[in-house]
């Protein structure tokens, strides 16, 4: 099984479109899974009509404090590096969005008052397989701050039997992007030939470079200024895998929830070629 991550520094460059098109191209001859790691704003499912096969809660540890046993000594607050616990004289307040579930409080409590609680931070959804493609995505609850536990959960779904897994990653170059990309065999960085696209591409390429995963570039909304990306790609030794020309028709189809590889001549063929080359 091969894992291909689709990432980008800048948001809105077309990660989701490339992920879906790539999965469909691979899906013609292989069994494919798409894992949407952008749990803050998952979008892949908007382009699939298939129904839900499975849905379950994503849970993380939280300190379930037993007031009968608690002696309000303040030890849990002391060891918590994230200030998620405040011990008052007859009450312990817990701030879930601060908690990185390290279990330090559970280990530290001298009274055995901290129990292994589970709290829901989002949902994991698996769609029914269509055209050889299975989609897994996670959706983070509004108000939650940390997406990493959800990214880890969706990535654990191995899409049993898949030949290829395409991971649609969150934008940026910070830890959610790195956590999504980690463990992949190849990273496709989607960019656009604008100064914004180029700048964010460099940051993302640096983050991926640190992980030592080979990567290539897709230029979306390609046109007269591709040279700015191509010059960088040549200097960085990264191949330009594909160019997708700008098309108003494509943008309009996308806005309706359809990713149309027939929006222009030869796109489907080029995507298939890229997919085979990976």
């Amino acid at each position: 099984m091969k894992k291909i991550a689709v990432a980008s520094g800048k948001g809105g460059t077309g990660k989701t479109s490339v992920s879906v098109m790539l999965a469909r191209a691979l899906g013609e001859n292989h069994r494919v899974g798409i894992i949407d790691c952008d749990v803050e704003n998952p979008n892949c499912h908007l382009f699939f009509g298939s129904g839900i096969e499975e849905k379950r809660d994503i849970e993380v540890f939280f300190p379930d404090i037993n007031p009968e046993k608690c002696v309000y000594c303040g030890r849990c607050q002391e060891v918590c590096a994230f200030n998620s616990l405040i011990v008052l004289k007859d009450k312990v307040m817990f701030f879930p969005e601060m908690c990185h579930p390290c279990r330090g409080c559970l280990l530290a409590c001298p009274a055995g008052a901290v129990g292994e609680g589970k709290r829901k931070v989002g949902e994991l959804i698996i769609l029914k397989e269509t055209d050889g493609i299975r989609l897994v995505y996670g959706i983070m609850n509004v108000g939650e701050a940390r997406s990493i536990p959800l990214i880890d959960s969706v990535k654990k779904e191995s899409c049993a039997g898949a030949d290829y897994i395409v991971l649609d990653c969150p934008p940026g170059a910070a830890c959610p992007m790195v956590a999504s990309v980690k463990g992949s065999d190849y990273v496709i960085l989607v960019t656009e030939p604008t100064p914004f696209g180029l700048y964010d591409l460099k940051i993302a390429a640096e983050a991926v470079g640190k992980l030592g995963i080979p990567s290539g570039i897709v230029i979306n909304r390609s046109g007269a200024r591709d040279h700015m990306i191509e010059e960088y790609a040549a200097a960085a030794g990264m191949p330009v895998l594909l160019k997708i020309p700008f098309s108003r028709k494509f943008a309009e189809d996308y806005s309706r929830g359809s990713i149309n590889t027939r929006a222009f001549e030869g796109l489907g063929v080029r995507i298939n070629k890229m997919a085979e080359g990976l």
Binding site: G9, P195, F196, D200
Partner: protein, 289 residues
């Protein structure tokens, strides 16, 4: 002074382009870029850095080789798989909780401050800009965002401009929550695509969760007029004001090519006028707290 935060949920809807265009209508404004892991505002505003400061994010565990007996306690307790088989700490996975440190029987692990970026104060043609850059792969906990905002606020307090304009990060997680702290208005830039709408609804919920009033700009509204109509209906139902609608236009791209905002590139054009109208509504509509 009113603090206006521009966010979108989905990336690429035009946050930065619109923030920069609004900023360029002022002479002495403070602007802040809170998208610290892929900042772009500097490309349009071309800041000249006058002050820089190293940013120390969270902590990082360090194992002292000579004391470590490889007993395995840290590996067993670490919830983030940050200790390798050869007892090296993976800096990318370590969240700095310190559990390994205080549970190490040999006291061989200490926690150190981790340098994870830089923040800057710069001069720009429309005033002053506060921005930052997180090192690639670091955790964006919101602390660097909070620092950018703190500096921007202190600077804005002494300015003639009544507005502090903040370009926010994408998503709905920590960086967005940190950006919302203290904002008077969240100005949401959306686009009439299925994903744009989906993400707009989520980011509105986050802003309202933190009790920040919301206004919306619909960018590229003519890409799908049916969806634009639906956005308007939805916002009306939630009693959220639409500050303006901007058409899809190659002009923004031509302006970007020259590193100019639309209002600098062609101040007389229809798109520039729309930005001016948004500025007026933005100033009159949002009440300072």
């Amino acid at each position: 002074m009113k603090e206006i935060l521009v966010i979108s949920g989905k990336g690429g809807t035009g946050k930065t382009t619109i923030t920069a265009a609004l900023a360029s209508l002022y002479r002495d404004i403070v602007v802040a870029d809170c998208d610290v892991d892929a900042p772009d505002l500097h490309i349009l505003l071309k800041p000249e850095i006058t002050e820089r400061e190293t940013f120390y994010g969270g902590k990082l565990a360090v194992i002292e080789r000579d004391k470590c007996t490889k007993c395995g306690k840290c590996r067993e307790l670490c919830q983030f798989d940050a200790v390798s088989g050869s007892y090296d700490i993976d800096a990318g996975s370590c969240e700095g909780c310190g559990v390994c440190g205080w549970n190490c029987p040999e006291k061989a692990i200490k926690m150190v401050q981790k340098k994870s970026g830089e923040s800057y104060i710069s001069g720009v043609r429309c005033g002053t800009m506060v921005h930052a850059l997180l090192d690639p792969g670091e955790e964006n906990s919101g602390k660097l965002v909070a620092e950018v905002k703190k500096k921007a606020k202190a600077l804005a307090a002494g300015r003639s401009s009544a507005i502090l304009l903040v370009d926010g990060p994408p998503g709905i997680g920590c960086p967005v929550i940190a950006s919302l702290g203290g904002a008077d208005t969240a100005l949401i830039v959306t686009e009439p695509s299925k994903s744009g709408i989906h993400d707009m609804e989520r980011v509105i919920n986050v802003a309202e969760h933190f009790k920040v009033p919301v206004k919306v700009i619909i960018n590229k509204f003519d890409i799908n007029r049916v969806n634009t109509g639906e956005i308007e209906k939805y916002l009306e139902k939630r009693k959220i004001e639409v500050l303006g609608k901007i058409p899809f236009s190659e002009k923004f791209d031509s302006a970007l090519k020259q590193a100019k905002t639309i209002n600098e590139f062609d101040p007389g054009c229809a798109e520039a006028k729309m930005v001016e109208e948004i500025k007026i509504r933005m100033e009159s509509g949002s009440q300072a707290r």
